[in-house]
């Protein structure tokens, strides 16, 4: 159709088209992928709506804080001091106290789960208080089926009694050491503050691993990969052309999530924005690498989504220290967490939001994420061949 481009089979193929890597081709692929991402409503849903919903969920619906725990206070002693102790219990904002005069009334409430425990101020409270016999002043009964809450109720009840007793005057022997706890980094001990930064890691995993796995598998499924593979574009160009737009999308989504965290959920950003972006960018390497590996192996959207869920999302959720503390896990599970890139990212995110730029902590985490990412990319590159051989 163009005499300049006349078919000339004896000529060697043009040099430009033979190049393994060509910036113009990459640009064309990136443009194509971006157009597709923008036109596909599900991409935008996953990149922007899902993170917002997740952040709201973790910020408001999921709370690991113990506040307003419902307990009963059984006032068996009619004395004035017993009444002031009961008042001390009702006065605290961490407890929601139901007053009773017979322990049988509250015992049933524990069985039915309406109360988490109860404190008995016994009949001989006055005698015990004055007797200096060392006998315990009150009895605390808790619901052991919820161990965390049970511990909390027991400790807190003790604390209330001690504080009350200290307030009585010098004639009462004070305990050997007076505890005055300070919670660093999260002074109000609001779980939201540590959950929201962690949620950003979840969001990035979804975009990096899940979305990438899906879009590459989609090309195989729809047969568009066959057409692209038959052009001079190289595997590296095709894969980078896929990854760059999703890298950008992931970073945009991170910025959005961070803005939401700081301006809506009042999570402080004590570190620098640059550090946050650097950490996120490095985390995208293993996340994208994993997505790529999954899609290269499965070439099927449904399978890719399932594998991404089990190998990316769930570990990031449960084994990264986002929801459950790694130190509290059994040793074998703890060993596995070292393989989860999200683990390094969650801990860095918590640091950058709640503590500040602590490079001594960031550098090993960045290295770990980088190494895992490089490994995944290497595997993905090996799994992707420039042909249709399975």
């Amino acid at each position: 159709m163009n005499s300049a481009a006349r078919t000339n089979p004896s000529a060697r193929a043009p040099v430009a088209a033979m190049r393994r890597f060509d910036a113009a081709r990459l640009r064309a692929l990136v443009l194509k992928e971006s157009l597709q991402a923008i036109r596909d409503p599900s991409t935008l849903l996953i990149a922007f709506v899902l993170p917002t919903v997740l952040l709201f969920l973790f910020a408001y619906a999921v709370s690991l804080d113990v506040s307003k725990v419902r307990i009963g206070v059984v006032l068996e002693s009619p004395s004035a001091s017993a009444h002031t102790l009961a008042a001390a219990f009702t006065g605290t904002r961490y407890l929601d106290v139901t007053l009773a005069h017979d322990r049988r009334d509250v015992a049933e409430e524990i069985v039915s789960g309406r109360l988490r425990g109860f404190v008995v101020i016994p009949q001989d409270f006055e005698r015990r208080l004055n007797g200096r016999s060392g006998q315990p002043l009150v009895q605390v009964i808790t619901d052991g089926s919820q161990p965390n809450t049970a511990n909390y109720v027991a400790n807190y009840a003790q604390g209330v009694v001690q504080t009350w007793r200290a307030g009585l005057g010098a004639d009462v022997p004070s305990t050997a050491v007076a505890l005055n706890p300070r919670y660093w980094f999260n002074a109000e001990l609001e779980s939201r503050r540590s959950l929201v930064p962690g949620a950003i890691a979840i969001v990035m995993t979804i975009i990096g691993t899940m979305l990438t796995a899906l879009v590459v598998a989609r090309e195989w499924e729809r047969g568009t990969m066959e057409a692209v593979l038959s052009t001079p574009a190289s595997v590296v160009e095709i894969l980078i052309g896929k990854l760059l737009p999703y890298f950008a999308l992931g970073m945009l989504s991170t910025l959005g999530a961070a803005a939401l965290a700081v301006f809506v959920f009042d999570v402080p950003l004590r570190g620098s924005l640059a550090a946050l972006l650097l950490l996120s960018a490095v985390f995208m390497v293993p996340a994208l690498g994993q997505g790529l590996l999954i899609s290269s192996v499965t070439r099927n959207q449904f399978l890719a989504a399932q594998i991404a869920l089990f190998s990316g999302f769930l570990p990031a959720f449960m084994l990264s220290g986002f929801l459950y503390e790694i130190d509290a896990m059994p040793a074998p599970i703890r060993a596995i967490t070292w393989l989860i890139p999200a683990r390094y990212f969650v801990s860095s995110l918590k640091t950058v939001f709640l503590a500040g730029d602590v490079w001594a902590a960031f550098v090993p985490n960045l290295l770990a994420m980088g190494v895992i990412g490089a490994l995944l990319f290497l595997l993905a590159k090996r799994a992707t061949r420039k042909n249709l051989e399975a």
């Binding site: 640009r27 157009l35 047969g223 057409a227």
Partner: protein
Amino acid sequence: MPVNGVSTVTEGVADSKAAVVIDSVTKRFGSVHALRGLTAHIHYGRLTGLVGPDGAGKTTLLRILTGLLVPDSGRVTVAGFDVVDDNDAIHVATGYMPQRFGLYEDLSVMENMRLYAQLRGMDAARNAGLFAELLDFTRLGPFTGRLAGKLSGGMKQKLGLACALMARPAVLLLDEPSVGVDPVSRRDLWRMVQALTDEGMAVVWSTAYLDEAERCDSVLLLNDGQLAYDGPPGELTARLEDRSFRLEEVGERRRAILAEALNLASIGDGVIQGAGVRVTLRADARAEEIQALADRTRARLAAVPPRFEDAFIDLLGGGPGGTSPLAERLPPVELASDIAVSCRNLTKRFGTFTATDNVSFDVRKGEIFGLLGPNGAGKSTTFKMLCGLLKPSHGEAHVVGLDLRRATGAAKAQLGYMAQKFSLYGLLSVRQNLEFSAGVYGLEGATRRVRIEEMIDTFRLAPWLSAAPNSLPLGFKQRLALACAVMHRPPVLFLDEPTSGVDPITRREFWTHINGLARKGVTVLVTTHFMDEAEYCDRVAMLYRARLIALDTPDALKRGAAAPPLADPTMEDAFIHLVESADLTDSNHGERAA
């Protein structure tokens, strides 16, 4: 046909060297031998047809030529480059259009073209002129802003071709470019490819339609991974010279005559052609038997020019006999009325889109009634309303006198339905599929056992009983699907694209059954995209843009298209003629309204 601004000089490159050299290539997928020691040459400046039934190895060969698959043994060079060692060069030298639409449906026509231009390393400055040429060439100019996913099947293929043509490949490889394309767009594609070969390009066009082979300069005929023939189609067809005949104007008796003819030892193949029966003699056989048959039935026996398909069937050793064991067992169908299926003002709207618009017709008992039309014309929608799978928005349909709106269940018990793509249960074995169908149609006890055994016997399914349907060869899948549809001996049979993707021998066997059933009084409604199969029908309803534009016998439809340049039009010519006149009427109406 020269393209704008192109001279049709080949500058001596054609024939100087082979464009593709295939040397003893084998390829296996697990236990399946896709290619068995294939050796062939493909030349510049020629249109080479890669012809063969589905599963013959066409796609595998094309993928090897594009460097997308690696041969297990043997060597292939394309435009002088080895497909394995010079893989990168192959991608530059070839343009490839996969069987499945490989472009991005969520990108527009122009965006797809730009992407492929850049992937093929074309500089932006020159693109504008080339794009204009390609758009003009493909007649896609008015649709540059449309998303590729919203194009019709034909326009998609033309866009695919435009993208494969970027940067002027030396070798153009097209994998079944005419599948799902209506005859009008198909003619466009041929025109474009012809222009390209005139310029010296080597074009490979793979197809399962044997009539397309006749249009190629040269043909590689594949069957079961082996080369059955290599050369100009005319030479193969010439072997059948003086062996093709037609029994003219046998009308009502044509099915009986075909059955009888196919049972003659001297006859290798036979099909129905309108009111006539077309037969081919076996090699070295004489015309005495068929002449005797003609005399006995008082039909005129005329020698006709052979077709490529005749030659192909001959190459494979001839088609099946004329007796259908399925129909033999069937008692004649008795119906209260002579009208088996009827519809009045049938209309179906999906939102603002009208899929079927005011369609009315009657189908007589024992008639084979064809529904023809381009993709998206409303064939399937009409079909589904007639067998009670879709509720009409307006109008009514009756099957054996039962109103489909009121007595849906009773009407469905009177019909057998064979869905497109032979929808069988993949997780059930062949026997379980048969038992399931028997159960669904209420066959019980001894009847059920006997009928299932009959089906196994008739369709020779015994070796496959415990296999999964998806592991069956396509021909057996089709037999199983037909078995499931006819087991309860329905008086009316609905067949939706029953022969798509099936090799010509199996297609003939299938039509032997259908002809046999029709002779017993079973009414058959069939949709098909094989134009020659429309010839088996008593009458053909032509659907176009949701409306019924013609309803007549195949011969009458063909006569309507006869004009000076086309003395003996084919069914395809008739189809194109009808579609074009419908378009003309539409535009005239439009002008008058304006």
